[in-house]
Structure formats: C-alpha cells, structure tokens
Symmetry: C2
Subunit: 430 residues, 2 copies
C-alpha cells in the first residue's frame, strides 16, 4: 500500500477507481466541494490537478513486490500482454497533457515538433537497445506481422522467385501460405507432424539453391518453440518474425536481412509493427504492392507517409526507455532466463504432473505451453489460478492445455506466484 498511502484525491464528481480505499469511507470521498485541506498541520486552499499515482508504485513493481498495485492481476496473456507498471503510470500521468504541451500525445499532429521528438527518440533508443547497424532502416508500421507476411515477398521478390520457409509453428505456416500469392514459397522443413515441438538441425536443412530469402519465426507464440541460434541462408538473406521475442534478448541484427514483429507482446500496445530492414533491400517492390506495404515509401518518409499509430509508437518509446534503464537487453535476457528457468524447472520437477511438450533445447523464454497429466483438471487449474489473480493461462485453442506467456513485463513475482500455485495444485490433486 506504499503508493496509496502517499497519494490522495478529493474531487467533485470524482471517478473513484474500483479499488476501495481501506482507511477512509466512501462517503468522505464523495464529499461535495472540499476546498480546504489540512496537510501536516498547514491549512491552505488548494487547486491542483490530479494527474497520476506516484512513482513509488513503479519501484515496488520493478523489485518484484506488488507494492501499492495490489489491485493488478498477473496477466499471462500471449499478446496483447502485460506492460511495465512504471510505463503505464507514466503514460497515465502524461495522457491528458504531454509535458506541458497542452495536448495529449493522441492529439498531436504527426508532423509537429512534439511528435517528431517522440518517434525519433523511440527509433534512437531501439537502435541502441538492439545495436542496429546504420545500414538498416527502422520502420514503424501498421497491420501486424500478418501484413508483413505479404509485404515481405512483395518487397523482396519477383513472382518467379523462390523463398524458403522453415516452419516451426502456426505463425511460420501462415507466413508461408500468404507468401505463395507473391512468390514461389517453398516449405523446406515443417514441424507440423510432430505438433510443432522442435527446431530442425540447421545442417539437415535442404535449402533451395536460389532462394531470395530464408524465413523463420524466431519464437512461435502458440507452440513455445524458440530459435536459440539462427540458420545461415545458403543464398539470399535471413528474414525473421520476432513478434513474440522482440527485445527480449540481444540479437545480432547484422545476421538478418529483415527482422519484423508486432509490438504487442514485449514492447508496446497492439497496432504498431516494427520492421528492421537492410537498406539495400528496399526499393524493388512488385508493381502490385499497395503503397502502404512498400518499404521504400515508408523509408523515404521516415514512417510518416500517412498518419502513423502515434500513441502506440509513443508507448513503445516508453518501453524502450524502460529497457535501457534496466541495463539493456543483456540484463533483460538474464531476468527472462531466470523466470523461464523457474517455470520450466517446476514443470520438470513435478514428476510428470505437469508436462511441457517442447524439446528442451528450444523451449521459449517467452511462451511456456504446458499440460496436466490429468487433463480433466486443466479447466480447474485455469479457473483457480484466475481466482488468485493469475489470468489468461488458457492455452491456444489449437493446442489446448495451458500457456504462460512471461514476456519482459512479467515480474519475477508473477512467475514465483504461479510456481507456488502449481505446487499447491499438485499437492491437492496428486
């Protein structure tokens, strides 16, 4: 209760949050037109706009304690997903009037100096985080990774060109199917027959001799399969959908031609798609490419050809700042590794009560699918967890069971609580 003990609101027609105050009465809060307040013995009239909770909350959140934010749930959703509490509080604080500009970020002209400073800072911080070489462009786009499934072949291929796909889950499969409209999409390996639980040994891949690019989904959100290293394309470039592990660990961008991903897992709200593309690959779009899918248009206009998703980009920028403040992606990876180890060890240590179908060497640090030996208890598991304020643990409908998505913003405390709950549940049902 650290934060709430230090912040206080009195308002006429004030909207009271669902959190009921513990040490004052509801009626006091609805008191009409209070205009004097005694603060530590000083009585003065006051006139201050209430803007946001204190930063005290964020410190509590980061250290893993739920601190003043006890009304928050632990949100294990696969995306959109949890955002860092301090980022949300900052966004809340600035929502009505960004840095004294007299406007919300949502109201700013995308060509005005305020928003330009926001998008430029976001790009610059992302470049620092991922150490993006200068020969790469960073584009802030719309439409999700699914739009890129079409944009990639439209920008990188002619219709007669071959593209190789290594399919380790549903998203890679979708990418290949969409690409078939615009090039010769060649699935050179698929884990479908083994229910997407593996990444193939790279030396066994039979790559096409003239493929324009080799496509992978670096982390399969639904199946929890993550590339720990990357195959070398025999020809052409490597292209990776990193939607669900973007900025979760350091990545050597120079190994890729294009890295892309929706923001809504690790770095922001939905509605922003980030494309990191090597500049020499830009400018060869097929004639049928919609102008909004042409990398050249967005590159030449610094992502401002038309109105970008401004507020989403602003939120991503706040997350990038937060990741840098945490010490960058090496530190972030350590935290993610620790959380994932805790959860996978709990599964492994359950004597088969809990099971993870994914091959150990490629288990995702971000999305942890698991099942119960007694599958008839899965519904109860999910329901009881929700009662304990751990939500969105249901597995994807195509896989069943449970899935815990533990992106950057999931605090260690959330995983600790889940693991404790799993042990209790097992004890109860063993």
């Amino acid at each position: 209760m650290a934060a709430s003990a230090n912040s206080f609101l009195v308002g006429n027609n004030t909207q009271i949050p669902s959190l009921k105050p513990k040490s004052t009465s509801q009626s006091l809060l609805h008191l009409s037109k209070p205009n004097t307040v005694n603060l530590a013995g000083k009585t003065k009239p006051v006139s201050v706009r209430c803007v946001a909770a204190t930063t005290h909350v964020q410190d509590g959140a980061r250290s893993g304690s739920v601190g003043g934010s006890q009304e928050r749930v632990f949100n294990f959703a696969a995306g959109p997903a949890a955002l860092p509490e301090n980022v949300l509080l900052k966004a809340q604080s600035d929502l009505y009037n960004w840095r004294g500009s007299g406007m919300s970020v949502m109201e700013m002209s995308h060509r005005g100096k305020e928003f330009l400073s926001i998008i430029q800072k976001a790009e610059s911080d992302l470049r620092q985080l991922l150490e993006i070489p200068s020969e790469f462009s960073v584009l802030f786009l719309q439409g999700g990774a699914t739009t890129q499934f079409a944009a990639l072949p439209l920008n990188l291929c002619k219709p007669e060109d071959t593209v190789d796909f290594v399919v380790t889950g549903s998203w890679g499969d979708k990418a290949a199917k969409e690409a078939k409209k615009y090039c010769k999409a060649n699935v050179i390996w698929s884990g479908k027959s083994e229910k997407y639980t593996k990444v193939p040994p790279f030396d066994e891949l039979e790559q096409s001799s003239h493929a324009k690019y080799l496509h992978i989904c670096a982390n399969e959100t639904i199946h929890g399969v993550e590339f720990k290293d990357y195959p070398l394309p025999k020809n052409g470039i490597l292209v990776a959908d990193m939607s669900s592990n973007f900025c979760s660990k350091p990545v050597d961008v120079s190994k890729f031609g294009v890295i892309y991903g929706g923001a809504q897992k690790n770095v922001g709200p939905s509605g922003v798609t980030i494309v990191i593309v090597r500049k020499d690959l830009i400018g060869n779009a097929q004639e049928i490419t919609p102008v909004m899918l042409d990398y050249k248009i967005h590159d030449e206009n610094s992502s401002l050809y038309n109105t970008p998703p401004c507020f989403g980009i602003y939120m991503c920028g706040l997350v990038f700042e937060d990741l840098l403040e945490q010490g960058g992606l090496r530190e972030v990876e350590k935290k993610n590794q620790r959380k994932a180890d805790l959860l996978y060890n709990a599964i492994e240590g359950s004597n088969g009560f809990f099971r993870c179908p994914v091959e150990k060497s490629v288990r995702s640090l971000m999305n942890v699918p698991f099942t119960l030996e007694k599958s008839e208890l899965e519904g109860e598991f999910i329901k009881e967890a929700a009662k304990e304020k751990m939500v969105q643990l249901k597995g994807h409908r195509s896989v069943g069971g449970m899935r815990a998505s533990i992106y950057n913003a999931m605090p260690l405390a959330g995983v600790e609580k889940l693991v404790a709950f799993m042990k209790d549940f097992q004890a109860k049902h063993a």
Copy 2:
C-alpha cells in the same frame, strides 16, 4: 478554475503538471509522506489512488468555457486532432486499471471478455450514431484510408473493371492513383486546375456506363471542400472516404456501398480505420489481395483475425459514447455548423483581409483554409496565435496560408477565441 478548485492531489514524488497551482505553493505539493488530511473539519488517514481529474472539467469544456483546463491549448491540427476533454480524462482514469479488471486496456487479450465487450459496444454505439442498416458490416482495421485506396479496388473489382473518380482534392487524387494498380481508374472530374475549390454539379458528371463504383472524398482535409449532397452512381455503388468528416453529421448510409475513414480526425487516435461496407459486396477479392486487406477475412472474424489496434478502438468507443450523450449526430452537426458559421462569417466580414478560396456552397464544416490579403503577414499570424495557445494553424504545405480544423472536439470557445484574435490581428495590421 472550477475543476481544479475541487480536486486535489498529495503525493510522494508526484508528477506535477505544467500548470502551476495558483493558490498553494510548490513546496507544499512536494511535502513528503503526508498521511493525515483535514477535510471540512474531519481529520482522517486516507489511502486513495489518485487517478484523474474531476468530470467537472468536461462540463466546463463542453459548455465552451475552458474551465479548469487552462493549460490546454486550442489545437487546430488537421489530424491527429483534438479529442474531447472528458474522453481523455476518462481514458486517463482507466488507463492503469480498466474497471477493476486489474489491467490496462492496452494489456488485454483481444480475445478476452473484457476487450470483446469494448469492441462490441463501440460497434453498437457507432451503428446507433450513424443508424447503420443491418445489411452493412462495420470493420475496425489498420493502415489508414491510404490502405483502403488499395483495398477498395482489390475487394470490389476485377483488374479489367472501370471505376469512376470525382477528384475534389489531394486525397481523392491519391485514391485514384492507387486504384490504377488494380482496376481501370477513370477520373471523370478533377478540380485540380481550379486549385480544388469546387464540387462539380452532379448532372454534368460523365459517368462511365459500367463503372463498378463511383468514388468521392466526402471532405477534402487539405482543401476544405465538402460534399453537401451525394451524386447518384449511374451504375454500381457510391464509395466515400469520410476520414475528415466521419461522425460530424448524420449520413444516410444506405446511399453508399462503402464508407471508410481514418479515426484520427473526429472519432479517435490515429491507428484505427473504420470501414462500413454493404455485406453483399464482401467476398470477391482479387487473388493478389493481401489477407489483411480482404474484407471477407475481417468480416468473418469480427475484426479480430489478427490483433486489432485495441486501445485505439477503445478510444473510438469512448468518443462514440460521448457523441451519443451529446444527443447524437443531429446535435453534433448543429454545433459544428455554428462553429463553422462563426469562422466563415469572420472571414467574409473582414473586407478581404482574410480570404477563403473555397466556393461558398461547398465549404467544409471541418477544415477551414484561409489566407491573408497581405500574405507576408501569415507567418506572424500563425506565430502570434500560437502565443495565445491556438496551435497548428499553418495551412498544408501544398496550399500555404492557414487552416483551422474545427472537428467535433473543438469547443465553440476555441473558434470564438480564434475569431476574436483574427479581429484584433486585422485591427493591428489594417
């Protein structure tokens, strides 16, 4: 100062907005750890999360007075543009924890019951506002109107089909150019030679005999030209880009095959595109259509095929609620008419000091471009207005001069202040 006199915040490390309190000292606000407060004579410990300012502000704003929101500017940007103050305050209040869900709207799974309730309510309110017949689908998409410039012919035409375009400004022109990639786009009238200041008489339009649709931009944001009535297509359907006058007045949706628009002018932040499409037109997309541009995919999945721009849709929903509370679009139109009349009358009454190039009968209620007889004073006009907290009055770079965008959320007080400023400026420089 109505609102701020009734709301009060004390916090440890509290972020103080740029607005300096008038009746208390800064040092008082930074007082460390206050934990007793005397309210109207009662001294009690309190522990309430500060969430947002009072709804009193919104009443002030709506009635035209700037009330407690004196730090706000009047934002005449063409889009993204001003949002209703009460909508921003509600969004601020709920940003950290939406209705006790323990999550921000930005963190919610788009398939969870919380977000489903938000998107369904948004659609239902929009249907009520525009009285959308049941044979139309409402889609919440991404990519702006510019993406629709491609999606429309891809969904409604075969490559050999003809489409007629009436081009009354830059956006209609862009729509026609993009459509050329996917059909025979035929510009049957263009106002370009007259610098886009007119709408043609409908009976003079030479429509193609077999056009699949007739495309108009119902309000040209840059040139300030607005259709007051709509042409009847000789063949096929009428398609309108309503990005910049969407929900600014009642529209007989049944006259159209498709109405579409970006949200960032009148109904929300950027990043949401709304498409209202007659259901029988869905399902005939060309084979080369990217899956994300196929209306059928979005219609079958209720705009949830992939992750939609959730927070933007939520904001649109808050705006729709607000418009309904105002009495619906008939009332909204009256307010918009009153604001526009005030501004156009000031221009007309200036004896040529101010000039609007647009033909009187088609002047936009939303975007008012104007110039100065002494064009060398335009820079000063814009600069001085900004000092008076009226911002973004510079005309589009392709047109020059000034432009005042006075969308739904621009209060009457903003236009009154602008008109008063114009008179002062004229007196000073006559």
